[in-house]
Symmetry: D2
Subunit: 279 residues, 4 copies
């Protein structure tokens, strides 16, 4: 039997990238998932295991981060073209396809105005309610889930204990991002169930303004604010995954990274849960 390569292409998919522009107010935020695909004279990689022309897909990923540091991301189309031209510099490459999905973030609305450093992501927020009825009582809980928020500054994490397994560096300025799940329990006998909107407003306002020393610290402030907004609620529960944004190390490429280019991750994540009660 004789066979031939009729078509072939390869690349790196799902390169996640967040870039923050901090040089002006309000801060700018671009959140991308990028795929790189190359076509060209790569036959011998397949047929004989000769990697001489095989640009590592890991190198493609690094290239995306390095070029994202060096260039504006005003139009992702322009950035895509730049990336494509970069890969075409390799003689073996005949065609490069750059596909990008941009995940939308809006400046958070605080007191009717867009906050300069806090963002919300319209990504499937749901409003929840839980009603338990038995022969003696009714318990009503109202809440929300998948309220995704991020702030580009005013978040630190330092002073934590160090043991032989601790490698995390202290930081006085990091991205803080989470997907809020919140619920508030109504005092017995309530029949006006309008607390959710006020709780939501309190959560976002506090998230935006808080000088965070940890997710726990901000959770507490947010839950206090939620209780403050509504006397009919006697207990608030928050669940905050810490969606880590890792600063990309660009030093190997001779570049600095002044809190600008991040790798957003969902796995693993910190997870902070607490209930605050009116006493």
């Amino acid at each position: 039997m004789s066979t031939s390569l009729a078509s072939h292409r390869y690349g790196k998919s799902h390169i996640r990238l967040v870039k923050v522009r901090r040089d002006r107010e309000p801060h700018g935020l671009v959140d991308l998932t990028i795929d790189v695909q190359l076509e060209g004279a790569f036959e011998s990689i397949y047929t004989s295991g000769d990697n001489t022309s095989c640009i590592a897909t890991d190198t493609m990923k690094n290239t995306v981060y390095a070029l994202a540091r060096q260039h504006d991301l005003v139009h992702v189309e322009t950035f895509g073209e730049r990336l494509g031209r970069h890969f075409l510099e390799q003689p073996a490459v005949s065609r490069a396809r750059i596909s990008a999905a941009e995940h939308r973030w809006d400046h958070a609305s605080v007191g009717g105005r867009p906050h300069p450093h806090a963002f919300t992501q319209p990504t499937g927020e749901r409003w929840t309610a839980d009603v338990v009825v038995d022969r003696n009582a009714v318990e009503v809980t109202s809440g929300l889930a998948h309220l995704v928020v991020l702030k580009t500054t005013d978040s630190a994490f330092a002073g934590f204990p160090r043991d032989r397994f601790t490698t995390l560096h202290e930081t006085d300025d990091r991205i803080l991002a989470t997907s809020i799940t919140a619920s508030g329990r109504y005092r017995p006998g309530m029949t006006d169930f309008g607390a959710r909107a006020r709780i939501r407003e309190g959560l976002i306002r506090t998230f935006a303004a808080h000088e965070s020393r940890s997710v726990q610290h901000t959770l507490y402030a947010m839950a206090e604010a939620a209780l403050d907004t509504c006397a009919d609620i006697d207990e608030v529960t928050l669940r905050l995954p810490n969606r880590h944004h890792l600063l990309v190390d660009l030093e190997p490429f001779g570049l600095d990274n002044p809190n600008e280019v991040y790798l957003p991750t969902e796995e693993p994540h910190g997870l902070i849960e607490a209930t605050l009660r009116r006493s």
Copy 2:
């Protein structure tokens, strides 16, 4: 060995429900996923297969739809309490838990104003770009995905052929809902990539205003509008799943359903795809 039931509960989960309020302008839209869970004297169902006290979970589902027709859904908490009390009328039931997730819909913004019958759902919209670079040319496509829209009126489907496998009724007023995937190809040589926002606006405006005779019919109008917004785009491709909203049959319960209570479905769905080119 002797064993005992330490705890048990059962119910119906993921009951999907959309209710439209048409008696005023603008229309109102509530989109819920409801779980019902009952506890009570159900031991003999488990231990001896005696179903005398076993309220069918299918009956729970029917009850949700019937009560949704009969009552307002201003606060889902109030509706949940009503449902719970209904199930407590059965002597065997000692506790009912009603959990609801409300999926948010906003009135679509058309010309800066909320449209009375068209809605968008903030559920993970993404902006896409595709750049293909080879040694001779650059091809740039910009688009969007997961732009979820719904209109409560001005959509019909009639006049289609009937064969021995056709059971669908003609309708002159149905819900039309879809998750738009759209892309526009730039004319060669373009370097200003600002078309997406204008295309998006054209798509939503046309979706809201169109007197739809089919998804195909509305797709064509939307794609034409998108091409109209931007001379730099020479080709537009749309992909529109038809997210059917089935009118729930309430007749068995002695209730009418004047285009008010719907079961939204995702599977199966119609799928309409087309490319329009400037000629």
Copy 3:
């Protein structure tokens, strides 16, 4: 501006279909998701809202179920060709694409042999463990999740109460399908954690053999069997969603449906949860 339809196609996606072959032992089971796509002379549907040639996608769905009743599904490729040729009988249709995904089911292994009516689906089963350690005690729970099983007979549901919202028919022979989540709590002080495999075997064996009068009834028998397999476990919890398989009504097409062609659904689903304790 002048525009033209450069390409277009439409159809029905995600048509779910389960067919049982009961005329021989062991029973046969085919589980498909089918997409239908048509191309042809459909321009006027788009451009002028003329539906004269617009085969409803609902009719496509019905056609799939009717032809599945009339023909064997030994090779889904042959069935796909048959469906395609059916749609090509319409003059407007120039090309039909039928895409199918077949979801694998294996006959359940009971006592080392394939059971003739019980099936398992290799779809992401996970083994779970939960260990809670405090200064006084250790509590260990072992379990599994996403163990998907189905039986084609020996499952009934009848004798349940009927009120004004009850429409469900009684049945003495239905498909019973679920995705088992199970966990067993070890007696304090245990250090040999080998119970899971025995529990799993007990669950599957009992699911296969039980003359089910309800999911609750079978849950109880399964949990009892799990406790029986392992004296080190003092409590077993099961969570069983009822993945309803709805018998498709083929009467409108002049066809019977002797428990053969089903629509499998995941939403809504019954949900049965209970804990059995050794007393």
Copy 4:
């Protein structure tokens, strides 16, 4: 208003871990997702931003990897207890909960026998078919998707070009894991559609046996083998994401890592696609 912390806990979720046992034949493979949750005297973290007692969740993650290197994972319950006791060594911690999900891998069946270094994961494999019918011809393609495989040895990646953005180390022994999507096109006129099982067998056998120099290299060998199994197939297309398994750096904890403890990742991933044709 006065509020109090009614309950609180925190930890790290979704810590992914693969451990290979290479000291005997056949190789052993354990694939876990672990959640750590701590309760204790952490109030001041919340109320005053005092991190003195705040074990970083990043440290929890490191601890999981270090202990996984030092201890057997025969029973994940025993490992969970060990982890829990480790965290209880901190005076602030009063309770630790370790939850684990183990993802099942089976030794791949090659020639009817379990292969010592190649594995398959029963995780939702689907069999696909695509039939295109027009007035002149029928084109039939059969395939499969989500066939997840992994090999613990006989995979290298070296000799690739290095530019200023290359940081990847060469390796002569890595884990190779992918989720196979494969399809084969039948020669026109075929009516016996039994190729899929033979193709599947050829793919797994070749994946297991191949001395891989790259995913491309192995893809080519697999596609050749698939064509070899079946003269009725004239073209085979493979799509292989490279599910990277990153060797965890345990040096900061004074531990070596002789190809034993890995972090499996899905994002980003290499993606290799090619079509081989019989010539």
